[in-house]
């Protein structure tokens, strides 16, 4: 029931083999650029999509598949729905007294497109970069070593602890029986207390596991800092490869701000 950790799809495409540091930086830059796109710069969105599709092709993924996967954040659009009626300005009247604000619709569609594009970019990163490489990239990009280590530990132990939580849930399900003619389930408070107890149980086991992990680390010479191998310098080719999508992004955004609004 817990999700598997690997969105990563192993492969040998150019994007798979690209320097992970470059990929992380470009991902953030692209998402930032997408966010900066002025709402009404409509030609920018298909232009940005061609960039995404291009990167998908570089990863040997189908652009349509990425488009589908990018829809994962769409339910959140519910939060932006009120824009359709609350933004002041000219409106289109539909029948039955409903008027849709033009500015509101524009804003709504812009958010939809931005979100959809951003998710695809993020997915391209996680699908072409193994978790180990991602962690390495973060560390090389000067994310504080402690945080990087915490992320690595968390992912390492999430499967294990996730399985324990799964078994706790099964054990509870196994004893969640119904007797003839009686309402089952106990009170809400009781159920919450049981769930709380399960969480407490899981906490103690996790805490004690962390002590064993610590002891194992001490036994192997750990003294407080996670040592890392020095990352190799960024090659010119990698930097150049990363510059291309950034250039494309820059051109699109410039055009968006100067001409397309």
């Amino acid at each position: 029931m817990y999700r598997s950790f690997e969105r990563y799809q192993p492969g040998q495409s150019p994007l798979h083999r690209a320097d992970p540091r470059v990929k992380v930086v470009v991902t953030f830059a692209l998402i930032g650029g997408i966010a900066l796109t002025p709402t009404h710069a409509w030609p920018a969105y298909p232009a940005l999509w061609t960039l995404v599709a291009g990167l998908a092709a570089l990863a040997r993924f189908s652009a349509w598949r990425m488009a589908r996967l990018g829809a994962v954040a769409l339910p959140f659009m519910l939060a932006a729905l009120p824009l359709l009626i609350t933004v002041p300005g000219p409106a289109w009247t539909l029948g039955g007294g409903i008027a849709i604000s033009q500015a509101g619709l524009a804003r709504f569609v812009a958010i939809l497109l931005k979100s959809w594009l951003s998710v695809q970019v993020a997915l391209l990163l996680t699908m072409t970069t193994s978790f180990a490489d991602l962690v390495w990239a973060l560390g090389s990009l000067r994310v504080p070593g402690t945080l990087v280590a915490l992320i690595a530990f968390m992912v390492r132990y999430s499967t294990t602890l996730g399985e324990e939580a799964e078994r706790l849930l099964r054990a509870r399900a196994a004893r969640s029986a119904h007797a003839e003619g009686r309402p089952a389930g106990g009170t809400l408070f009781w159920r919450a207390r049981v769930a709380g107890g399960m969480v407490g149980n899981l906490f103690l086991r996790s805490y004690e596991r962390s002590e064993r992990v610590y002891a194992a680390m001490l036994a192997r010479g750990y003294a407080g800092e996670m040592r890392r191998l020095t990352p190799p310098p960024l090659s010119w080719r990698a930097a150049l490869a990363g510059a291309v999508p950034l250039l494309w992004l820059g051109i699109v955004e410039l055009a968006a701000m100067l001409w397309w609004q």
């Binding site: 054990a171 196994a174 107890g197």
Partner: protein, 239 residues
């Protein structure tokens, strides 16, 4: 023909990632029988047990417990009849005190308080831990936890007791007392998944060998256990 306690027909199950875990399992267990499920790791023993009370649901096949078919609607009823004891008792003991853990089942069923108390008392006595009601589950030894885990299930008065590797991790003394305990449960239908062939020989007159998700043998323990070729073929030892 009166219904058996457990009837499994044509059960097949694959994990979400496509891996086939059970292939066309058919099994019939009569009331009061004691059956051992043996097989190598990954044979599907635990998976099969998890189907018995609907924690896993198969796409193909039918399961009936005491004549009641396992469906979405009868889950609660089935779980009152099938008591499943998991391999790791830590997963089963999630209340701070032993009493609360053993009381969970009856409480969930909505039984009145004095009935709940009576059942807890009986269950704890049955496993020889009647003085443990106020102890913290978390602090007990593995052997003690396994008994409490058994009690948490016994308090539901199940028609069938299914145990997943009951003796794993136990020292010889704890193991002995567990076997004695199980032997003392007169008339209780038992389904025990285990590697422990000596326990199997002592407790279960009937043995079902599972391998690669399919039943490869089903017969009297005395006979099957002498067939060393068969045992070796399926990763078992005589013990």
């Amino acid at each position: 023909m009166c219904p058996a306690m457990i009837e499994i027909e044509g059960l097949s199950f694959s994990y979400p990632d496509g891996q086939r875990a059970l292939s066309d399992i058919s099994l019939r267990v009569e009331a009061g029988e004691r059956v051992a499920l043996v097989g190598p790791n990954g044979a599907g023993k635990s998976t099969l047990l998890l189907h018995l009370n609907g924690i896993l649901r198969a796409a193909d096949g039918a399961i009936r417990v005491a004549g009641v078919a396992l469906t979405d609607r009868t889950l609660g009823q089935i779980r009152a009849m099938v008591g499943l004891v998991f391999q790791n008792p830590d997963d089963q003991l999630f209340s701070p005190r032993v009493f609360e853990d053993v009381a969970f089942g009856p409480l969930h069923m909505g039984l009145p308080e004095d009935e709940v108390r009576a059942r807890v008392e009986r269950a704890l006595t049955a496993v020889g831990m009647s003085t443990y009601a106020d102890r913290m589950s978390y602090h007990l030894s593995l052997g003690e936890k396994k008994r409490i885990a058994l009690a948490t299930v016994l308090s539901m008065n199940p028609r069938v007791l299914a145990l997943d590797e009951p003796s794993s991790g136990l020292d010889p003394r704890a193991r002995r007392s567990l076997i004695r305990l199980l032997q003392g449960l007169d008339g209780q239908t038992l389904l025990i998944a285990s590697h422990d062939m000596r326990l199997v020989r002592e407790l279960c007159p009937r043995m079902v060998i599972l391998d690669g998700g399919a039943i490869v043998a089903d017969g009297p323990t005395e006979t099957l256990i002498e067939d060393s070729a068969l045992l070796e073929q399926h990763g078992l030892e005589r013990g």
